[in-house]
Amino acid sequence: MNAETLVNALFAGLLTGLIYGLSALGLSVIFGVIRIVNFAHGELMVVGMYMALLLFRWWGIDPLISVLIGGAILFLVGYALQAVVISRVAHLPDHMQFLLLAAIAIGIVSACLIVFGPDAQGVSADLPYSLDSFQLGLLIIDKPRLYAAAAAIVVATALLLFFKYSPVGRAIRACADNYLGARVVGLNVSRLYALTFGVGAACIGAAGCIILLIVDVHPYLAPAYTLIAFVVVIVGGMGSLYGALLGGILIGVSEAAAAILFDPSLKTAFSFALLILVLLLRPQGLLGRAVR
């Protein structure tokens, strides 16, 4: 193996990491505001992937355009989930909420298994730009991967701008900072919570549509993606949006490094090793604030 292969693999890992970051952003938004750990995270992402797959098969829609449709549908799903189900268990201890989401997660996986079967299906060979690549000096970059990463950056930027400048985004941040204060000034917190879950789910759905460009979908991807997103968010720092992106890039690069230096099947073990290391040295995450 030479330096060229290594650099290329690491750069590809960085691009994949951006998509991980976008998906983890969805998890982080939901946790940061509603304080719910969305255990059905990877499952929602897989739902997004299947939607993009069907849209491509039925009408030939490019997954990058499906981002809008998949995001919109998952927004509604997330909104309904929070408004109808999760709000009802808000008074229960953390672990009961977690178990409810775990149950929803298993439900989604088994429904996907029943509907789509266990085989991997994808679009990665059928797109007009599938096997194309750019060459930039030493770097050879696959077009689908580059487009996917670019789309992830666009969606993530849109999300960050939404939270920073839009009135709804600011209201949501107010709820996250001071629940009681937000209620006192007359914000409709339960509606804002539902919106937050919707926005988070839309973000996850968008990440699902995007990642279909480079990964074939099967139901068992869901728990794996849930775990990756958790690792990303804990490494980056729970509740920190930039931390989620940074964590995503780190995990993407470390997976790529593990795959090329050791064995592709060990890449997840590397992410977990990184997680344990971060928990040992900096339990609040790289960009997180220490919480008590």
Partner: protein, 351 residues
């Protein structure tokens, strides 16, 4: 002191409760003399689920620590004793202690990481999942444990008869009595723990850690005890699993499905109750089996597509069961039954 220990263990039961408990035990002991074959297999699964559930419940129900990686401890017990038996010829009566030691060591490592840095609540649950997955991937690559090809325990037609308790080789009836004894030992052990100092400390730590620390309970120490005891019990369950099924694959033994399986019976029965895990297992396993036969029957008669996997349907059913328990009866079914039948003086699981 004999009456003392009796009162400590069974004092909470009403006369009706005592009769019910001992009647149940007597019936369960007689079960193999009436039924055989399929019913025995289901009964073994019921008590396996109840035993693992009891171990998991000890952490969440007693000490307030959510673990979603209990497959890790079960798997370590299974692999340690299984390896010692299959590759080194060490009988499981000795192997089980090695299994417990490995699982307790791992539990202590996770507990140390988690509690030193006050990684509480769901973060701790994530840590347990991370460790379980990490171990699964590592065992995939360990040659002497068989890797992804699996570890097989030697079994012959003769060894499926009789009752060789030292080597855990024997008939389904032997396995039934072993797991039945383990389940009731676990029930009494947990009752003994709960009615002692450690049990009161655990509940204080669970219900209000700040207040418990303020009155001088060492949070770190008592949380560590809970993880270690639970890990050890789970390892025993793992040894049983290994010798009952005779083959171990990392995907199956350490998989997240197995961790979730450990949580089901106590959730349905009632987290934090003593009899909840057993009750939950009694309800869930037969329901799961009924569902399997129903799906197979429907497929046989071409009402459902043959490609639909039974496992998928079963998982869907479990997810609906857990979701409805959380939404409708978050304390589980056992406290509810207990209240109607007046089996205990205080309602179990009431906080």
């Amino acid at each position: 002191m004999k009456s003392g220990i009796f009162v400590r263990l069974f004092g909470d039961l009403t006369p009706a409760g005592l009769v019910a408990l001992f009647g149940l035990v007597a019936m369960l002991i007689l079960l193999p003399f009436v039924f055989s074959g399929y019913i025995m297999t289901v009964a073994i699964m019921v008590f396996y689920l109840a035993f693992v559930g009891q171990a998991w419940n000890l952490m969440l129900g007693f000490a307030g620590l959510l673990s979603l990686g209990h497959a890790l401890f079960v798997g370590l017990g299974a692999y340690t004793a299984g390896y010692l038996f299959a590759k080194q010829g060490v009988p499981p009566v000795i192997g089980v202690f090695a299994g417990i030691a490995v699982a307790v060591a791992m539990g202590s490592a996770i507990g140390y990481l988690g509690f030193r840095f006050s990684i509480g609540g769901v973060y701790f649950a994530l840590l347990t999942i991370a460790f379980a997955e990490f171990t699964r991937i590592i065992v995939d690559h360990v040659k002497f444990l068989g890797g992804t090809e699996g570890l097989f325990l030697p079994v012959t037609q003769e060894s499926r008869r009789g009752a060789d308790l030292i080597n855990m080789r024997g008939s389904p009836e032997m396995f039934y009595f072993v797991i039945l004894a383990l389940s009731f030992a676990a029930l009494i052990f947990c009752r003994w723990l709960l009615s002692g100092r450690i049990g009161y400390y655990w509940r204080a730590v669970r219900d209000n850690p700040e207040a418990a620390a303020a009155v001088g309970v060492d949070l770190f120490r008592y949380r560590m005890y809970a993880v270690m005891i639970s890990a050890g019990m789970s390892a025993i369950a793992g040894v049983f699993y290994a010798f009952f099924y005779n083959n171990l694959f990392p995907e199956q033994v350490f998989g997240i499905e197995r961790s979730i399986e450990a949580t089901l019976a106590p959730i349905v029965g009632g987290v934090g109750t003593l009899f909840g895990p057993i009750f939950g297992a009694f309800i869930l396993t037969p329901l799961g089996e009924l569902l399997t036969s129903l799906v197979e029957w429907l497929q046989h008669n071409n009402i459902i597509d043959k490609r639909v996997k039974v496992d998928g349907v079963k998982l869907l059913f479990w997810s609906i069961a857990v979701a409805s328990i959380v939404l409708l009866q978050p304390r589980g079914l056992w406290p509810f039954i207990c209240r109607i039948l007046r089996l205990t003086k205080k309602i179990e699981g009431k906080r």
